[in-house]
């Protein structure tokens, strides 16, 4: 029996609008002839992803996504575009000659993935994020997880970040 509260019309409408925006912006990332336009399209995809995380009741990850991706990574990308002196206008020489192979590969991959997902999770519903029995993942639960069972991976991750920072400095400095 389908309850009216299971359908979640508002969430579904929100999902659809954000998903369409993300797909259009994603096409912009892979098809734009202008490097800066592609980078700015990626901002829309990332903001849409953050909105989807909120729909999935993962607020902390959504905020981290906005801070790290939209705030830091995009600035890095725009610096990369600037420092490598990419053409800021339209650039016809942005793609290589692999499109004839890449398009079937991507379409086939999507076909296989969609088939498996539709077969495997045909009508599995995700738990309601509001109402009775909802268990939103709060930051306290998340920090308990990170600093207890996942403490060692967290340490390893800090060393990876440290190594990446030192490596980037060593690579990019002028001798």
């Amino acid at each position: 029996m389908v309850l009216a509260s299971d359908i979640q019309v508002a969430q579904n409408v929100g999902f659809a609008i954000i998903a369409v925006a993300m797909i259009i912006a994603g096409v912009g990332v892979i098809a734009s002839r202008n490097v800066v336009h592609a980078a700015l399209s990626l901002v829309i995809v990332m903001a849409g992803a953050a909105a989807q995380y909120v729909l999935l009741a993962a607020e902390f990850v959504a905020v981290t996504q906005v801070l790290v991706y939209i705030g830091a990574v995009m600035v890095l990308f725009l610096f990369g575009v600037m420092l490598t002196r990419a053409k800021l206008g339209k650039d016809v020489d942005l793609n290589n000659k692999n499109a004839a192979i890449a398009a079937p590969v991507a379409l086939l991959l999507f076909g296989v993935l969609a088939f498996v997902l539709l077969k495997g999770f045909s009508d599995d519903k995700i738990a309601a994020t509001t109402g009775n029995g909802a268990r939103p993942i709060d930051t306290a639960t998340l920090s308990d997880l990170i600093f207890k069972p996942y403490l060692l991976p967290f340490w390893a991750l800090s060393f990876v970040l440290l190594a990446a920072v030192i490596g980037a400095i060593v690579l990019a400095r002028k001798d």
Partner: protein
Amino acid sequence: MLVNQFLILGALLFCMGVYGVLTRKNAVMVLLSIELILNSVNINLLAFDRLNGNAEGNVFALFIIAIAAAEVGVGLAMVMLIYRNKKSISLDDLSEMKG
């Protein structure tokens, strides 16, 4: 909400990213496409997390965000090094490893 709507969105973004990695010639554009792939993986992780009602997926999503930031830093440093040495970041010009 069905879990599939999130998973299919993730799959679509993943395939777009794969297409971008395969077709782009500019190294910065390839890194942008890789970010697309990593974002789609994060959407999948959080959708499965919600499906199973536990919080581990959020932890992994945070780890992936941190790894992605490190990857972009090192990747762009390498792109700048290549640009400094070859005055070009076209990946088709990097054929030294070809036998």
